[in-house]
Assembly symmetry: C2
Homo-oligomer: 417 residues x 2
């Protein structure tokens, strides 16, 4: 049997489910979410068994240890995933509500929020995304089609089966949560062109995955992720803040998109500041790739190439450049930024205002770590990704970003003159 | 010289302009808009001369009269276009403002609105779009790249030159308003892949143009326009409203996307209602394409084919079908709707609520004409298009839809633990 046709059927089922899900009440959705959370705990053995298959295959393929760690599930990990669903239960339902106004002719217009419809997620190794995405889509009334990476396919299949069964047994329409059981690239490409069935595709993963989706998808895409984040240490920086914020942004979790990749330092403070942060980086094993002026001050820095300025290392590496002025810093960020998160360290009012106004990014900071760009840390209670595009959503995306507008208009025989 | 390279330069100039325009104040933008409005009046002769070239070329090519009428500019038409700019001056600036909240750790987060950056508009015959789009983009702080149709190229060139010169003489950065002087398809396709320079593409025109942009663009697109709009006359309809609303929706301006294309009638009222509306349609020269049951009641109706149910006529033609129930009406609309505007005519509370809740469209109406789906009629003061997609904007788009989010975060040495 041809799987290309199966994929159309998955799309059709999702579309049918979405039609019903759009007016399924919050109580039903919450009850189903709680059942999903419980089902993960009840089926822990089956999930762990499937996960062993993925881990074994990954080890046989010789995958990197960091990747294998991302794949691995444990009892505690499953409990965390289950608890994450319970947190979604506690969040407000983004569907419904909205403003209402009356036009001079008596027509009443209500702008209300409705689900997007069918959301497809294309993601990589971590199996928890399967459950997180399904829970957020369900709470916002969307059907989801999940396409995880091949490394996690056995874990994903069991996770998706367990949660979709629990959902369907609790009033959620059949087809609301579906995993694509095949990870061939051809089917992912087919998915990206199924405009008839899918309302939006959200890719989550590395730069390569995101580029593939953006270049091939005719379905609207919400781009997430790539972050070449900068810190600029101004001539009026407080050194203590400059050391702790920059060190935190680079090292607290280097493998994520809001981690720092490039440090720009004003020439007036370079000789004092660079040795302070350099010493901390060196002790922590962070490789410094510096411009010529940095290397005159830090003899252990290796030379930065042009490519370094646009590289998202996601690792214990940082590119460092000395700049003549805030203008040079703004120009550098304008040229190399992926418009994710940028921070300035300064005590100067005008410098902070210029940075906040002139930098074009999802999040701009004064005297704080770029690592705060996160749905939870912003207070949204959840996160389905961090948008680095400008349409629809920008920055951390939570439940409201999974809805769209519907105008409801109450007339009484109104016609246009 | 290779125009492909010129197009890159246009993109670069727009990007440079957008960077400055993002923090150009409302007063400067309004002053420039007023100058643009005046410049159109001052340069009326040059505009009309150029328009004669377009009209002559169109007549020589034997274009349809309706299309030639859309191309034609007059003194009064130029005054209207000039006045439309003045109305944009009166609208609130969508840039800036927004909510602000404090996190438990003391971090203050501000969600503010900023321009999208560079907006490309791809449109067809009507030269007024050149000015409308430029004015709305300028007011919202966006640079614009305009690519109009070949039929209006001479008019568009003069219009764009006149308004961009007036803008630049009044504090607007060079390159903020640019028209692409060549209308070859190859350059339009190149534009659709200039992600480095363009933040969003908005196509305005027929279904063919919109499909081409959706299928070929890697730049994010806001889809506008196609409307296969339905009216469902319920068994509890008030006949008077049903006749006047349906007649209005079909005939008041048949060439636009919010005009009615399909009429569904409940079988219980078909024998009484169809002759009433049929008589009015017949007298007005509206062709009725009906299902078999319609044709038994209206012998002058021609047979509807399967294709008719998904056709946007934009003409004095309507497809008409008798349905057994509201469920059949909802199913029909679910199958054939382009999710633009749909209306129910009923006095029944439950039927109205089901229609409003279950129909998935940008605008759903009770007892009112679909022709109200319009930025001006909704009270938005302006309209850059009507979005029929779900991401970013849905329904009439005005100035706020030309902005995106920027999170500004005020810290005091905050780091992530």
């Amino acid at each position: 049997m041809d799987f290309a046709e199966d994929l159309i059927m998955i799309g059709q089922r999702a579309k049918n489910a979405a039609r019903k899900l759009a007016f399924t009440g919050t109580e039903t959705k919450n009850k189903a979410l709680l059942a999903m959370a419980q089902a993960l705990l009840d089926n822990q053995d089956a999930i762990l068994e499937a996960n062993v298959l993925d881990i074994t295959a990954a080890e046989e393929k010789g995958l990197k240890k960091s990747l294998i760690n991302r794949l691995r599930l444990t009892s505690a990990g499953i409990a965390d995933i289950s608890n994450a669903i319970k947190e979604v239960v506690g969040l407000p339902d983004p569907v419904g509500g909205g403003e209402l106004w009356k036009r001079p002719n008596g027509l009443v217009i209500q702008k209300t929020m409705v689900p997007l419809g069918v959301v497809a997620m294309i993601y990589e190794a971590r199996p928890n995304v399967t459950v997180d995405a399904a829970a957020l889509c369900l709470k916002s009334g969307n059907a989801c089609i999940l396409r995880g990476g091949s490394e996690a396919i056995e874990s994903n299949k069991v996770l998706a089966r367990v949660i979709s069964e629990a959902a369907e047994q609790n009033g959620i329409p059949e087809g609301a949560i579906q995993l694509i059981p095949k990870t061939d690239r051809a089917y992912a490409l087919q998915l990206m062109r199924m405009n008839k069935y899918i309302d939006v595709i959200i890719p989550r993963g590395g730069a390569g995955l995101i580029r593939t989706v953006v270049e091939n998808s005719t379905v609207p895409v919400i781009e997430t992720g790539t972050g070449v984040c900068h810190a600029y240490v101004d001539l009026d920086a407080d050194y203590e803040k400059a050391v702790s914020v920059v060190f935190n942004a680079k090292t607290q979790k280097p493998g994520v998109c809001n981690a720092l990749e490039t440090l720009l330092v004003h020439e007036a403070v370079a000789e004092e500041y660079l040795p302070m942060i350099g010493k901390k980086f060196k002790a922590y094993g962070v490789e410094i790739r510096g411009c010529d002026r940095v290397r005159k001050i830090l003899d252990y820095a290796v030379p930065a190439t042009e490519e370094d300025w646009s590289t998202e290392y996601l690792d214990l590496i940082i590119s460092v450049k000395v700049v003549n002025s805030i203008d040079e810093a703004l120009d550098h960020i304008y040229t190399y930024s992926t418009k994710h998160s940028e921070t300035i360290i300064t005590e100067n009012y005008t410098a902070s205002q210029r940075f906040l106004n002139e930098i074009d990014a999802a999040a701009v900071y004064v005297n704080a770590s770029t690592r705060f760009t996160d749905g939870g840390r912003f207070g949204f209670g959840a996160e389905i990704g961090i948008s680095t595009q400008k349409l629809h959503a920008r920055g951390p995306m939570a439940l409201p970003e999974l809805t769209t507008i519907k105008y409801i208009v109450y007339g009484n025989g109104h016609i246009v003159e």
